[in-house]
């Protein structure tokens, strides 16, 4: 079963420990991913739930969510593609900063982003479909920028120049040369945005008006409010089917891997164009910052006066829907547990994938949650381990486990390519100097594995902090996480509820940005893509 390790098919012996390292992730994924999915399917397969699956109301929600997601995709592409061109093809002062800023909404908890936009646009765009669409564009802009930008930076700008010398206007060159070259990346970005918008929950809960629904919101409502588990399971299965269909279609459409050199953006020589580009960059920056700044301001303003009342209330104790301070401590504890659990499980799966087929199978299974929404994982976990005969609710482990399942694919996606790209020659040198197999293996892969596990663990913690779907399903009424508490606060009338929700959002935003900033810095220092 064991073979040579690493990129170079040399003779680095697989250490005994690594031969069996796949067992722990395999056990975790079987117990907490495959068993819950099997239980979910089992619940749907009984006659009552099959009735639920043909419920016209459920299909109406699916159709409306599909339409909403398609419009979100269209708007995100229409706005995202020009912004991508600005960031990847034009050089101007502050370009890198603007690129980082465009990523911020994506890494922030969705309830925070939705609240920020609600705070900024509340008077102009009331809660409802319009605000939901704006929030989806705001969050998913980073998806288009990163995916399409990576391809755009590899499109040789001289091909556009050739088209121009052949008589193409700038728009015609964009339509006939640049966009065809970007087609596969635009398709990939559209698929990701569709899945995020179709399974949206935090934004639906905070920016929606109750009439905008997704299958994800139906799952949460049926589980947490109506206690209709078979109905929730039916919605979850329908959602998994739609998401799987989108992923399969996207993978089939994907063209060959992008190769070739990267073309750095060049300064724009013509003064009039330079002015336009600088003005556009400033406008994009202001649009990105405005919602977050407005929300931060809302946490210290009431009736036009400066105040720290909400911050005092935040620290003082209970406010009727749970203690903000306790929720904060609980969320940080869950994030820490998630970070450790996800980095250990994902790291071991990625390391095992280097050594043998069983490891690669486990790593493949670990990627499955990418196609399963957080609320679905939450319902599955609750059905499998939240009631007799196995009831783990009182242990407080269900949320970290569900969050770890959400984060394990990210850890594997970061760790596996980094390990595969590492040459085993350093290990071979160590072996020739007398190092035993485990020491030789660690000499070779240890530094990379340690780094990616820290970075990916931090990423998992950041994901956990803002996660809303699984926590909505699994959090007990008396022990909410911060995003769940924010949503509960916003459901209550009064300035105080809104102010404290804004304070909690600012705290979540700050902690998330610090975490992501540290990970980015770690990655840059060590030269590993995180």
């Amino acid at each position: 079963m064991a073979g040579p390790v690493g990129r170079d098919p040399g003779a680095l012996t697989v250490p005994v420990a690594l031969r069996y390292a796949w067992l722990l992730p395999a056990a975790f994924l079987t117990l907490f991913l495959l068993v819950p999915i099997a239980v979910l399917i089992g619940v749907v397969a009984d006659s009552a739930s099959l009735t639920g699956l043909v419920d016209p109301g459920l299909w109406r929600v699916a159709a409306l969510a599909t339409a909403q997601a398609l419009v979100s995709v269209l708007l995100t592409l229409v706005i995202g593609i020009p912004v991508t061109g600005l960031l990847y093809r034009c050089d101007f002062p502050g370009r890198r900063g603007l690129l980082a800023l465009a990523t911020v909404p994506f890494v922030l908890p969705t309830v925070v982003v939705a609240l920020a936009l609600r705070t900024l646009l509340g008077d102009v765009v009331p809660q409802g479909l319009g605000l939901v669409l704006i929030a989806h564009v705001y969050v998913n802009l980073a998806v288009v920028i990163r995916i399409v930008g990576a391809r755009w930076s590899r499109v040789d700008p001289r091909t556009v120049a050739v088209a121009r010398t052949l008589g193409a206007s700038p728009l015609t060159a964009l339509r006939t040369v640049t966009l065809p070259a970007l087609r596969s990346s635009i398709g990939a970005a559209a698929a990701v945005v569709f899945v995020f918008s179709f399974t949206s929950l935090g934004i639906i809960a905070v920016a929606g008006d109750g009439t905008v629904r997704t299958l994800e919101s139906v799952i949460v409502r049926r589980t947490a409010v109506l206690l209709d588990f078979p109905g929730a399971a039916a919605a979850a299965v329908l959602q998994v089917l739609v998401v799987t269909l989108v992923i399969v279609v996207t993978v089939r459409m994907r063209s060959a891997r992008t190769v070739g050199r990267t073309w750095n953006p060049r300064p724009v020589a013509r003064r009039r164009m330079r002015f336009g580009i600088h003005a556009s960059a400033i406008a994009v920056g202001v649009l990105l910052i405005a919602p977050l700044a407005t929300m931060a301001l809302a946490s210290v303003r009431v009736d036009g006066e400066w105040t720290i009342t909400w911050w005092s209330d935040l620290l003082s104790g209970s406010i009727g829907v749970g203690s903000p301070r306790n929720a904060l401590v609980r969320s940080l504890g869950i994030a820490l547990a998630t970070g450790i659990l996800a980095s250990v499980i994902g790291g071991l799966a990625a390391a095992s994938a280097l050594a043998h087929r069983a490891g690669r199978t486990v790593a493949g299974i670990g990627l499955l949650p990418l196609g399963v929404s957080a609320a679905t994982l939450g319902v599955g976990t609750l059905l499998a381990f939240g009631r007799d005969p196995v009831d783990l609710r009182a242990t407080g482990l269900l949320i970290p486990i569900a969050h770890a399942l959400v984060a394990v694919p990210l850890v594997i996606a970061v760790a596996a390519p980094a390990l595969t790209a590492t040459s085993n020659q350093r290990g071979l040198v160590a072996a020739t100097l007398g190092a035993r197999p485990l020491r030789a293996w660690w000499t070779c892969y240890g530094p990379v594995l340690r780094l990616v596990m820290i970075a990916a663990g931090g990423l998992a913690a950041a994901v956990s902090l803002g996660e809303f779907g699984a926590a909505s399903v699994l959090a007990r009424a008396d022990s909410p996480t911060v995003p769940v508490l924010i949503e509960r606060l916003l459901g209550r009338p009064g300035d105080a509820s809104f102010g404290i929700a804004a304070c909690l959002s600012v705290v979540l935003m700050a902690v998330t940005l610090v975490l992501v900033g540290l990970i980015d810095r770690l990655g840059r220092r060590q030269g590993v893509a995180t």
Binding site: A161, R164, T165, L166, G167, A168, T176, V177, P180
Partner: protein, 210 residues
């Protein structure tokens, strides 16, 4: 520079991205003639061609084509063909659609543009290549198609930026001779920049050393 009615005239042209790369350039190239500019890497040869084509704005001076001042015209309004060191064919289009690209931009219907493209493919010795994918071509074939694509929309001048430098010596020599014949038959002015004196001697009517 006094006579601006000659085919391609550079009048005190200053080239560079932010600062001038060299002294003002004064050059005239007549119809059917190929001016060779010979010089080492970094001397501004490619920047000169990019400036004439309008890809890089001139820092000063003028460019005239058939007596018309084109210095401030947009790239797509100049009708100046360029062949770069690499073929830079459009991967998503067939060979015929690559060659027909410029004609389509002039509003020529697709069937007519493709018919003209097939004539040009015969002209460059690749008559049965019209439906081929450009990703299947050899370096020499791709460069000849880049030449056909550049001349298809009947440019008023042609600029060659070391188009044969990536090819092996025998192919480079053959293509250089073929290209010279074709430019002479088109009757338009051309500038060919290279760092290879042998190639310059083969293809150019006159040579300017930088």
């Amino acid at each position: 520079m006094s006579d601006v009615s000659s085919e391609l005239t550079l009048d005190n042209l200053i080239i560079g991205y932010t600062a001038p790369l060299r002294d003002p350039i004064n050059v005239q190239v007549h119809s059917g003639r190929i001016l060779g500019i010979l010089g080492p890497s970094g001397c501004g040869k490619s920047t000169l061609l990019s400036t004439i084509a309008g890809i890089v704005p001139a820092l000063g001076g003028e460019v005239f084509l058939d007596g018309e001042r084109i210095t401030d015209l947009r790239i797509d309004e100049r009708r100046v063909g360029v062949v770069f060191q690499e073929p830079l064919l459009f991967d998503h289009l067939s060979v015929a659609d690559n060659v027909a690209y410029g004609l389509r931009r002039q509003g020529v219907p697709r069937s007519q543009a493709r018919a003209r493209a097939r004539e040009l493919l015969t002209w460059i010795g690749l008559p049965d290549f019209d439906e081929r994918s450009v990703t299947t071509l050899s370096g020499g074939q791709a460069q000849r198609i880049a030449l056909a694509r550049a001349v298809a929309p009947a440019p008023r001048a042609l600029l060659l930026d070391e188009p044969f430098s990536a090819l092996d010596a025998p192919l480079r020599r053959r293509l250089a001779l073929e290209t010279r014949e074709r430019i002479e038959s088109l009757g338009i002015p051309a500038i060919h920049v290279t760092h290879d004196p042998e190639e310059a001697a083969l293809i150019c009517s006159e040579i300017l050393s930088w």
